[in-house]
Amino acid sequence: MTTNTARADVSPTVDDQRKQSPDEEVPQLIGIGATARLLRPVWPHLIACATFSAVAAAAGAVPFVAIAEISRVLVTEGTEAASATVWAWAGAGAACAWLRLLLLGLSTHVGHKADTQLVRHLRLRIVRHLGVVPLGWFRAVGSGRVKKAVNEDLEAMHELVAHAVGGLVGAVTSILVGVGYLVSVDWRMALVTLAVPALGVLSYRWGMRSLSAQIPRLLAAESQISAASVEYVDGISVVKTFGGGGGGRVLDRFADAVREHVAAHNAWLAGVRASSMLNRALGSELTVLAVVLAAGLGFVGAGWLRFPDVLPFLVVGIGLPTSFGPVLHGAHGVRMARVAAGSIERLLAQEPLPEPANPRRPTGHRVELDRVTFSYDGVSNAVEEISAVCEPGTVTAIVGPSGAGKSTLASLVPRFYDVTGGAIRIGGVDVRQMSSATLLSSMSLVFQDVVLLRDTVRENIRIGRPDATHEEVLQAAKAAQVHDVIERLPHGYDTMLGTGESGLSGGEQQRLTIARAILSGAPIVILDEATASLDPDSEAAVQQALTELVAGRTVLVIAHRLHTITAADQILVLDRGRLVETGTHQELLARNGLYARMWRAQRNGDNA
């Protein structure tokens, strides 16, 4: 019988399998509780959706039952005698057909509405949570994890709420109603009829099981194809300028990958050949028709049944296999949602950054590092026992070979992570005893990777001080050497960023974030390699902007190019997480240690 999501073909596809294979990180059984918890706000809707869907499916069975009954009555009672019954059934069939349609619409409507609410609710929860987890968490997991949660995981939840629940309940109901009706006609025939799709499901399961062995190979081949095509287009200019040799080789690799994919798929097919053939044969309505006719004639011949009683099986029984597709499909959706729910819960379970019960405000903005120790993994220390004092109005440079812990140290001051030993104090107050807002508004962070919001230039500059006047924004932009650039944009200060309309270069974007920092007027400035990846055209302008920014503040700067920090008030030289030297440029040169060695190496490079 037709239900809302009948899928005639229940043959396994690789895609099904892939989606079914759980995330590496997720054990498959987790997630039932998580799913239930996440769905709590929409329970009433879901129950309504399922109920409508079930009643719709039951109503949807009536038109078919009506035809079966009409046929039976006509044959057994003769046309004239049956007239009243026949018209009654016809009326019921027609009424139920429309009732089904109405209920189906309601079920879809309620399901989607619940889905929209749920997705909104979950997104808000995720967003709210992102606002309280330690800042370092974003760095560690990357935005990819967040993206997966708000896109793919929520998409799976959407599938569940909007489609899978209604589809599954409807399909199960229509099978139950159909089977119930057939049993009421003749339980033996019902058993025989039902055996066909039941065997079909079994063969499907069997096929699925034997196929999982081939999945890694298929996936490997697919990622090879992907890698080879990406490599080919990424290296297209090399391929083209270096002629057939290079291009040929990459194309060969692509061809090999495609061949391997076909081979892997064929290997999989060889493994499931028998089961898939069986499954297709059993899923065919002609098979049910043949079985029903043969068994029916046999039963009639044996005197167990009168022929008119075979008719319901021809009308209702033949449609049974198509209802099993949606059952498998819906079960699959539930499984996917379970995995996704587990993943969303783990995101929401991320420990928030502890906020102090009685936050304190700093007096002054002297930054004090007191035997600061931090470990990412709890095993080895990324920075260890570092002590230093950064006085207001001075520049403190942090230098050292890569991996020395420079960025880690700098990220502890704004509490991207909490120290695992020692303390960081600002104006005499431990950063952990300040509220996040107080702490972060006392400092400007200028990093290599620029973060601009998709908002107007003006809003981007005054995000730290939303009440700033246009005049103040203008002054900050001028100080950051970016005013002229903004004036040239199509809508000046009202140009939307991040829409492709602005076309700001990296250096210009960097200056915009410096303008933001200048406007915020925060007394502490932390610069992490702010000019390292700029092109020389913008470098000079960014440098000027930085000069404006740092004037008179407490500055912490991480630098690769030592000549930029020769005028610093103090230089902290880090090596493998430890502070090995402290002093001014001249003092450190005289000391002839690590700093002096690094300095000499760079001078040689510059003079080349």
Partner: protein
């Protein structure tokens, strides 16, 4: 729809075979169902007439065996077809992309193409079988059943026939609306996802401003917008979605009422009525099942369009009788004007000449057209007016492979293939001897890098070459230029700071390239040292040549070159202080 998909494939044999088999099976299935009419006629008499039913039962058994054998045997073919079709289309697309001008390959297009070749084709090809097949059956089977019905009662057959086009129209409409709505939803969804990611990245700033957990007004607006759009989408889709099922249901009611009417007015016999009603159920189920493939059909439509987009990019124009050799490596721009697809001219009226054995430095602020000059020489794009000549021949008249054979490009961000250093070099000349390789490595100062690496030449460079540092990658690409003996070398000097050791090595290697008297070197220069050692400087500003001369001549003029030169020098001596 079917036609669109069919046209997409370069070799159509497989697709045609599979689809015709599906259609033939659907016809056979319809006819077998039709056999129910005579069978039921015989068996539904007051006394079942088994003798009359027997020939039909036998015919049905034979037909059934035939159908099932074909059906079952075609299973592996059909299942395998998805992958084979994908392979065909993938090969075709890869060959096609090779003919496109280099200028087509922007970052977005490259990503888009890679997506098309992998996931789009990977989804589309199986769909043509998994959804295309049932869609064909969904139309052919009802048609066959209708034909059988005509043989019994033409009036009811007409009703069935009338239902078909209405249903198809409703399905189309529903698909169209779903497609529109999906685009709308995708936009809103991307907006929300983008906002969320941005929200994560901007946390330090947002928290400082006290917007940490509320997400700011734009975030909330994006969420509200998404929610509103979802609800509107739902409203728009609901009715068209139901209208299809409604039409099928209306067909049911009409047939039922008419059949009973005909029965009671005596124009249709009872067995025929029953037989027809059984048939009509098959008709409606088959047709009604189509709605479950609607989303699959919609997806196919969408994916086919994506593939079509790539197939329709015009290839680089070829000269009718291309010149196949380049005598000298002279490069000459005469009055070249060029603009990118949208926007103001990137170059206007640019003329200059570079002679073999010399190095030309291009300078200018960002956006002044330096990169465009290099791209036009390698014919990434064709000029709008004027001409670019290499060896005195317009690049449009040169065989493109011959032109590219003369050119080596050393980019800022060098792309290396994910294989060994040796293989990456051999790309330039597959038949190079070990001695050739060693010489090229020495000239490009790559030998020091190789000595340091434990696996030497056999070191794998990783995806995109990222196991090596930027400077090391550049040295590999310069070595390639040496090995290729390219007579035109175009260098886009690394703008960002290389570590000091790499910087001096790359400088030396570029200088060594310029020593060959046959070779013309053009450098987009970012360092004072490169600028002073050039034979000729061309300063660009806003797409025009503003100065030409030797570095010594231009340094004290106070013009663009002088300004940039001093700017570069100042940047190198800047220091931070409070």
């Amino acid at each position: 729809m079917i036609r669109k998909i069919y046209r997409l494939w370069p070799q159509r044999g497989l697709l045609l075979r599979i689809w015709s088999l599906t259609a033939a099976l659907a016809v056979l299935q319809g006819l077998l169902l039709g056999l129910l009419v005579p069978i039921l006629r015989a068996l539904l008499r007051p006394e079942p007439d088994f003798a009359a039913a027997t020939p039909w039962l036998v015919a049905g058994a034979v037909g059934l065996v035939l159908h099932q054998v074909l059906f079952v045997l075609s299973t592996p073919v059909e299942f395998g077809a998805g992958t084979k079709l994908a392979a065909q289309l993938r090969h075709h697309l890869m060959r096609q992309v090779t003919t496109l001008p280099l200028g087509w390959f922007t970052t977005e297009r490259k990503a888009e193409f890679a997506r098309t070749v992998t996931s789009v084709v990977g989804t589309l090809a199986p769909l043509t079988v998994l959804v295309g097949g049932p869609a064909i059956t969904g139309v052919v089977l009802p048609l066959t059943v209708t034909a059988v019905t005509f043989a019994v009662d033409w009036r009811l057959a007409l009703v069935l026939l009338g239902t078909l086009p209405l249903a198809v129209l409703a399905l189309r409409r529903s698909r169209r609306i779903v497609a529109e709505v999906s685009v709308d939803m995708e936009v809103a969804g991307n907006e929300v996802a983008g906002r969320t990611i941005e929200f994560g990245q901007a946390q330090p700033v947002l928290r400082a401003a006290g917007h940490g957990s509320t997400g700011g007004a734009r975030m909330r607006a994006a969420l509200d917008d998404h929610c509103g759009r979802s609800l509107r989408a739902l409203d728009r889709m609901l009715f068209p979605d139901l209208s299809y099922s409604g039409i099928v249901m209306a067909g049911y009611v009409l047939v039922l009422v008419l059949a009973l009417q005909f029965l009671f007015t005596g124009t249709l016999s009872a067995p025929d009525t029953v037989a027809l009603l059984v048939l009509v159920v098959r008709f409606l189920e088959s047709l009604g099942g189509m709605i479950d493939h609607a989303s699959g059909i919609g997806a196919m439509d969408y994916l086919a369009d994506r593939v079509e987009e790539v197939r329709h990019v015009p290839a680089l124009p070829r000269a009718a009788r291309p010149v196949r050799r380049v005598d000298r490596a002279d490069i000459e721009f005469s009055d070249v004007t060029f603009r990118y697809e949208r926007g103001r001219p990137a170059l206007s009226g640019v003329s200059f000449r570079c002679r073999p054995g010399t190095t030309t430095a291009l300078v200018g602020p960002s956006g002044s057209g330096k990169t465009t000059v290099i791209r036009l020489i390698a014919r990434f794009f064709d000029v709008d007016s004027g001409s670019v000549r290499v060896g005195g021949v317009d690049v449009r008249d040169l065989d493109h492979d011959v032109l590219l054979g003369e050119i080596a490009i050393v980019f800022q961000d060098v792309y290396l293939f994910d294989t060994t250093i040796e293989e990456n070099l051999r790309v330039a000349r597959p038949d190079a001897t070990d001695a050739d390789l060693a010489a090229a490595a020495r000239a490009a100062r790559l030998d020091e890098v190789l000595d340091r690496l434990p696996d030497g030449w056999r070191t794998r460079v990783g995806e995109g070459g990222h196991q090596l540092s930027g400077g090391e990658r550049q040295r590999v690409s310069i070595a390639r230029a040496f090995l290729k003996r390219a007579r035109v070398v175009l260098v886009d000097e690394a703008a960002s700071a290389l570590d000091p050791e790499n910087e001096s090595a790359v400088n030396d290697a570029i200088a060594a390239l310029a020593e060959d008297p046959e070779r013309t070197v053009i450098v987009i220069a970012h360092r004072p040292t490169t600028l002073t050692s050039a034979d000729q400087v061309i300063a660009l500003d806003a797409g025009r040549v503003v100065e030409t001369g030797t570095p010594a001549e231009l340094r004290d003029t106070g013009g663009t070159f002088a300004r940039i030169y001093h700017q570069y020098e100042n940047a190198r001596s800047w220091r931070i202080s409070s």
